[in-house]
Amino acid sequence: MFRYYAWLAVRGLKRNPGLTALMVLAIGIGIGASVTTLTVLQVLSGDPLPGKSDTLFYPQIDPQDSLGYQPGEEPPDVISYLDAKNLLDARRADRQAVMTGGGAAVIPDKAGVDPYLLDLRYTSADFFAMFEVPFLHGSGWTGADDEAHARVVVISRRLNDKLFDGGNSVGRTLRLNNQDFRIVGVIDEWRPNPHFYDLNTGNYSDSEEAFIPLETAIQLEMGRNGTMNCFGEERLTPQQQLTSGSCMWLQYWVELDSAEKHKDYLNFLTSYSEEQRRLGRFERPANVRLRSLMQWLDYQKVVPEDVRLQSWTALGFLVVCIVNTVGLMLAKFLRRSNEVAVRRALGAPRTSIFFQFLLEAGVVGAAGALLGLVLSLAGLAAVRMQPVDYAELAHLNGLMFCAAVLMAVIASLVAGLLPAWQACRVPPALQLKSE
């Protein structure tokens, strides 16, 4: 019976090609727009380190003076060198890393490559293990290298390909700002999205091409990227600002493997703030936060509001398309009242008529899904051409693929319910008489 209905449904669709095309088009466009925007939203609100992210935390403390103090305010997003150093040295977390973005001129040995500016990350030894950075050759540096202000560097696969033709460059030298750095590791492809560990340098930017110890960068006065907020009356030279306790500019992350450790660390931050206050450094009451990675991304409003707004607009549009399809199906099904009346008079029960039309709606949905998928591929290609930092991440994935097909079929079945119900209520005898 199902095969017969399916055959009838396909035949039915062929009968009014214009109306059928309109319905498929409406469902297709609606699905295409929704899937495009929802894919972007899904990609942007993803977890950069699945399985690891709930053990990573971003401590915040408030070291500022009492000027401008307002109770209930959030503590600053970055911390000063002095506090970073104190927290690192206390070693209260399983792992801890301090970091900031920077840049330097790289002067390649290779003939034919001109000096150019490179994005760097200044950080400390635990960075690589904490964020599960995959290595192609070598490894990160050690805590001893941090303390010794060692001239060591970890480079990206891309930089390795560019300067060393993809060979194992561990042990070779990279010249940054007229200083020689020894390469200790080459990172494999690694692009966490969002660029969670430092949101100052672009929420979805690519990861940096080279990593060096923060202490080395400070010692060599290398240029940094990102925000710096200073407080207090003391005037400081740019170099003094870097190592002072009154200029906040560093990101700080800790790894805590259990809920208990999270509680302990939060207590530690509070007692640290109170201790600093007793010493006369902090002037405000202890104000600390210890957000997990995903909480931090949420707090920082990483997903652009425009993207959410676009998704809502597209969903609204989909609803209009569905309503439109309901109307068109109604027109199409009622047009065949005569056919229904004949079949009813010959003994077809209402349910068969109802399911036959619903099946026809399902076929429209399947065709709409196909068109919708093509349109969302085109839509995502258009998104990738946009000059935004998340552009190259916009790709259709398996989940959204299934969602698209499901959405289209459900949308068209919902759209078919009312028309199918109306159609199956056509009275048999009356129509026959009027023929």
Partner: protein
């Protein structure tokens, strides 16, 4: 024409009429809000900068910050850039309007004030900034040559800045209704800075809140970290000037990296790119929405015409003119669309209220509603025209014989 028979006929096709009305209501609500969003984004991207954008370009060179002879090199660079044909003026600064990075400071108007009045951006004028940028002084004067100092001397405490030029919006915010000249401003320390001049408008880099976009301060400071050059060229092709300026900087110091040069038109375009992308996207949605709605009306109205062929034929036989038939369908569409618009307006306000709550958008101005209504009435009439014209062609005799 009598509305009564139309309403009676509509009662026989309630479902279809309600569907169209519902579709119109949704379209009305979405279109009003989307148009409002587009207009606000477009307005935002037209934000005043206060500078002579069409004549300006900026150049950033990398090794500018290092070395002992920094100030001498900057002077040399300025002289070199000035000698380029078409360049009328050159200044240095550490940030530019519509740039991505900015220096900011909390501002107070009394030394013992506990809270900052406003957070304003800080431009460092390395000489001739007002004339190069094309800023208009509305009160006071420009910096005199002896007022300029080097950044390093301020940082080390050897010099204490004392004069400052501010924007009119900042002046209004700090001292509403009072003349700002000679008034003191306090930043980090308790040393006052005196306002010596007020410029009409100047926009800040990296605007995070549009209402404070024009709160600016200008200091007579040379050689700050991040120093870049801004060139004003008149009667010359800016792209050509960029090429010669880049070549000139390279010639003056061969191993330096010129990080990029762009015109201010380009800077503005880059800065508001996201807004434009959003506007284009919303426009696409509106067009698609109008097309889908129109096609829906055409489809349903054609169906009605087909179903009512006998009805039309009888009326024609009884003496109704083609014009009567056409107006019948147009009036019918007008009634359905109007009821849709009525609900659409409430929905538009509801959506706007939700957007205001979640996306900090302003209230939808009332005039968007009649405009949206007019657009949908027009759309309805245009879409029903083709089916209605087909209805007028139903021949009276055949129609009454058939069916």
């Amino acid at each position: 024409m009598d509305i009564q028979p139309i309403l009676k006929a509509l009662r026989h096709q309630k479902t279809a009429a309600l569907l169209i009305a519902f579709e119109i209501a949704l379209a009305c609500a979405i279109i009003c809000n989307a148009t409002f969003l587009i207009v606000s984004r477009m307005e935002r991207s037209q934000m005043l900068s206060g500078v002579a954008e069409s004549e300006l370009l900026r150049i950033r060179a990398a090794s500018l910050d290092d070395g002992e002879d920094k100030m001498a090199r900057i002077r040399e660079d300025i002289a070199g850039l000035r000698s380029i044909p078409g360049v009328v003026s050159v200044t240095t600064t550490q940030q530019v309007p519509f740039g991505q990075s900015s220096w900011n400071s909390g501002v107070r108007t009394a030394p013992d004030q506990k809270n900052v009045v406003v957070n304003a951006t800080t431009y460092y004028d390395g000489g001739d900034m007002l004339s190069t940028f094309g800023l208009k002084l509305v009160a006071g004067r420009d910096f005199s040559p002896d007022e300029y100092y080097d950044f390093d001397d301020v940082a080390s405490g050897a010099v204490t800045p004392s004069s400052i030029i501010i924007s009119q919006t900042l002046a209004n915010r700090l001292w509403p209704g009072e003349p700002p000249l000679n008034k003191p401003i306090y930043m980090g320390s308790s040393d006052p800075l005196r306002v010596i001049g007020v410029v009409e408008t100047l926009v800040r880099p990296s605007i995070w809140d549009d209402s404070t976009a024009h709160d600016c301060m200008i200091f007579p400071t040379r050689g700050a970290p991040g120093t870049q050059y801004v060139l004003r060229a008149q009667g010359a092709d800016l792209d050509g000037v960029i090429k010669s300026a880049t070549a000139k900087l390279k010639a003056l110091q061969p191993n330096r990296i010129v990080r990029g040069a762009e015109t201010f038109t380009q800077l503005r375009e880059d800065y508001f790119r996201q807004d434009r992308v959003m506007a284009v996207l919303l426009m696409t949605v509106i067009v698609a929405l109008l097309v889908v709605t129109a096609l829906g009306i055409v489809g349903l109205a054609s169906f009605w015409v087909q179903r009512r062929q006998r009805h039309i034929g009888i009326r024609r036989a009884l003496g109704a003119t083609r014009g009567n038939i056409l107006r019948y369908f147009q009036l019918e569409n007008f009634l359905i669309v109007s009821s849709g618009i009525l609900f659409g307006m409430f929905a538009a306000y509801g959506i706007n209220a939700w957007l205001m709550q979640h996306y900090e958008l302003p209230r939808l101005p009332l005039f968007y509603l009649p405009m949206g209504a007019a657009a949908l009435w027009l759309l309805g009439q245009l879409s029903v025209l083709y089916p209605a014209l087909r209805a007028t062609r139903v021949p009276p005799a055949t129609a009454s014989r058939r069916a």
